[in-house]
Symmetry: C2
């Protein structure tokens, strides 16, 4: 599947089949994240790949009771070490780097016929406790991964003229 088609076909999936993910597919999704660029090639991303059913349930609860997360056979919890580095432009490097890496995974998942949803709502300290993540690390995203029960319609997007401007910004 080409990149453009994967981008067009991607949806936020909130309902998953009760069906395991083939190991080679999971490995390609993780590999897609592993190959991502990062500031100074620090690769500060760390992934907890949660397959255990009870742990997935606990993560769903810690994600403000978003129970659909536990439906997914795999939940990838994206974390970061070395979280103090702020780029000179003013953005935290770890947030950007983990996001790039997990967006790679999202698009690779589409190519594998899998679905994901970006979860940014969770109690970080509870997630740390459930998965043994050290206090000095940050949790950046929780990503359920599995076969979608169905594909939702695409959500509306702003027109290109509303978000892109040539040479100078115009409101």
């Amino acid at each position: 599947m080409n990149v453009f088609d994967a981008i067009k076909l991607r949806r936020s999936i909130r309902s998953f089949e009760d069906k395991p993910i083939e190991e080679e597919k999971l490995l390609r999704v993780l590999e897609a994240g592993r190959l991502a660029p990062s500031a100074k090639n620090r690769q500060e991303w760390r992934y907890v790949v949660v397959k255990n059913k009870e742990l997935r349930r606990k993560i769903a609860v810690a994600s403000n009771n978003q129970y659909f997360i536990a439906e997914a056979p795999v939940v990838i919890v994206g974390c970061a070490t070395m979280v103090d580095y702020v780029l000179s432009g003013g953005q935290p490097a770890y947030t950007i780097d983990v996001t790039i890496s997990m967006d790679h995974m999202t698009l690779q998942a589409v190519e594998e016929g899998l679905g994901t949803c970006w979860i940014g709502s969770y109690k970080e300290n509870e997630v740390r406790k459930i998965l043994n993540i050290p206090q000095e690390m940050r949790v950046v995203e929780i990503m359920p991964l599995g076969y979608p029960k169905f594909l939702p319609d695409p959500k509306p997007r702003k027109k290109l003229e509303e978000i892109a401007f040539y040479d100078t910004y115009k409101e």
Copy 2:
């Protein structure tokens, strides 16, 4: 080109041909960003697409004299409106959303035979002034876009066992 090949072929490009980008290619790159997901579908990304040569030169200077940026025929400056929303997990929504959108662009660029580099080092206020970006908006990334003069070798990456752990985190 399939997603996995695009991810493997992506490089950080710091040397560009003096050759314009076909308009339909540029539009597909921007479209790839436009279709990205964002928290609550807020789509708070705004893009200044800089083609003007003198403005590109100024952006390169404001990016701590990274002159190769000005070599690219197009420089996309990724900004955000509505920058106050912090996800309950603790991460700034705008940083994540703009990063997802621009990572989509990066991979679409590979599919188009184009190259990009993620620039996080710049003087934000100078960039704002050069491009007329309001003070309340943030600049998240500067992305030169063009035909690579050559493809660098891939950079080394940590092994999967160093970054991925099953069910619980282990140092």
